[in-house]
């Protein structure tokens, strides 16, 4: 029990520092500007490094990375097998691992199984493959109900699955990140890998949509 009481004291001390927010301006733009200025003054951040991170997430990392993995799995049965048995290694082949996506599991949607990914405790998300999570993914309505009523949640995204389809919800409670491998849509036999990748959406790789041709 000593571990728990230690944690408790530490948490009380940590929580105490949140009281400062009563004395700060409500507008986050003002607060963040002041913080960046202060951090820069103290040598704790280089504003050009902030720019570089924003640029990274705006243009180098996004759902097209995940779409490459999906399209390759659709056209290459051996790759698909490797992806489903060891996604981390298979994604490393394409050099698409990274922070918040170093330990990967791929979940195959089939006519009988539909996978849906959530993080009920915070906002864990496979960033290197899907980019920054959308606001709804990080917000209370999705986080609260995805594990309780996934069929109702999917209907809010316009996806009404028949009762016989088994739904598996994956709550990202650790550092494992999940990528849904959607079903390849019918009528795409003539498309090549690059063309297929353009069909694959972020929402389909979270599991709140299907891919359509």
């Amino acid at each position: 029990m000593s571990q728990h009481s230690h944690s408790h004291d530490d948490s009380v001390e940590m929580a105490r520092h949140h009281h400062i927010h009563a004395d700060l301006p409500p507008d986050p733009a003002l607060r963040v500007k002041a913080l960046e200025s202060l951090l820069t003054d103290k040598g704790l951040v280089d504003p050009a490094t902030i720019d570089a991170w924003v640029e990274t997430y705006e243009s180098r990392i996004g759902p097209r990375n995940g779409a490459k993995v999906v399209a390759k799995a659709w056209v290459d049965p051996d790759y698909k097998q490797r992806l489903l048995s060891d996604a981390t290694t298979a994604i490393a082949e394409l050099d698409l691992l990274g922070s918040q996506g170093q330990h990967m599991v791929a979940l195959e949607n089939t006519p009988g199984i539909h996978n849906l990914v959530v993080c009920t405790l915070c906002s864990c998300y496979p960033l290197p493959l899907l980019g920054l999570p959308p606001t709804w993914y990080k917000s209370a309505p999705y986080r609260s109900r995805a594990v309780l009523d996934p069929r109702g949640v999917l209907r809010e995204f316009g996806l009404d699955l028949p009762e016989h389809v088994k739904i598996r919800v994956w709550d990202s409670t650790a550092e494992v990140r999940y990528l849904v491998l959607p079903e390849r849509p019918a009528g795409t036999e003539h498309l090549n890998e690059a063309q297929l990748a353009t069909l694959v959406t972020r929402n389909a790789m979270i599991g709140v949509a299907k891919v359509t041709a």
């Binding site: 944690s7 520092h17 003054d41 280089d46 050009a48 990274t56 997430y57 209370a140």
Partner: protein, 219 residues
């Protein structure tokens, strides 16, 4: 801790309302806060688990009413205050107190991509053999730690089946509180929806959670 962040299973938070063609950022300050989180120097005790715990400790009314990147602001400020790297006066004024030391070891722009590619590996060797096998029935323990934990309330006391074994991973409950990485075997446990939510739930569906060995007992 049994906090407001542990949302799984709650009603009453409203419709999901996905935004059509959502931009990466809704205001420039959100982008700045993202860059600060990734690129600023943090007190050494603030690992990913302590960071998550700082966010959990945001008072519930602010947790629910403030936006995501404002959570990051609040969490980082709390970390800076606790470490003694900043005073409340400095945070309020946005100006460093005179005479303070200035560091010169902040991340440089050319280091960003390398950091993105190499950070965040949490697998660790564990000396003990895994206690549970794939396919085995287990119960999530009915425990209520007051500090950081990644055992959501909605699975506590519930029986599921081991679906995946991920090897050893850093244990957040210890790592968040300066008690070291204390790695344990990590498993994905599949819980039938009827076990979690009763007979009104679908008989076909299940919810899986990634749970460390000490969260589990044989069932």
């Amino acid at each position: 801790m049994n906090g407001i962040h542990d949302l799984g299973g709650m009603h009453g938070h409203g419709p999901i309302a996905p935004e059509k063609d959502e931009p990466a950022f809704h205001a420039p300050w959100e982008a700045r806060m993202l860059g600060i989180r990734r690129g600023a120097t943090f007190p050494p005790e603030v690992n990913i688990d302590r960071w998550r715990h700082l966010r959990e400790l945001i008072p519930p009314h602010l947790y629910l009413s403030r936006s995501y990147y404002d959570h990051w602001y609040m969490s980082y400020v709390a970390a800076l205050l606790q470490s003694g790297w900043m005073t409340a006066e400095e945070i309020k004024s946005g100006h460093a107190a005179p005479g303070g030391a200035r560091r010169n070891d902040a991340m440089r722009p050319e280091e960003v991509w390398e950091a993105q590619k190499t950070r965040g590996i949490f697998t660790r060797a564990v000396a003990t053999l895994p206690m549970f096998a794939i396919g085995q029935r287990v119960r999530a323990r009915n425990i209520h730690p007051t500090g950081h934990t990644r055992l959501p309330r909605y699975v506590r006391g519930k029986i599921g089946v081991v679906r995946l074994h991920h090897g050893g991973h850093v244990f957040p409950d210890a790592n968040a509180h300066g008690q070291g990485e204390a790695p344990q075997h990590l498993y994905t446990i599949a819980f039938p929806m009827r076990e979690l939510w009763g007979s009104d739930a679908s008989p076909h569906d299940e919810a899986c959670a990634d749970l460390w060995e000490s969260y589990l007992e044989p069932a």
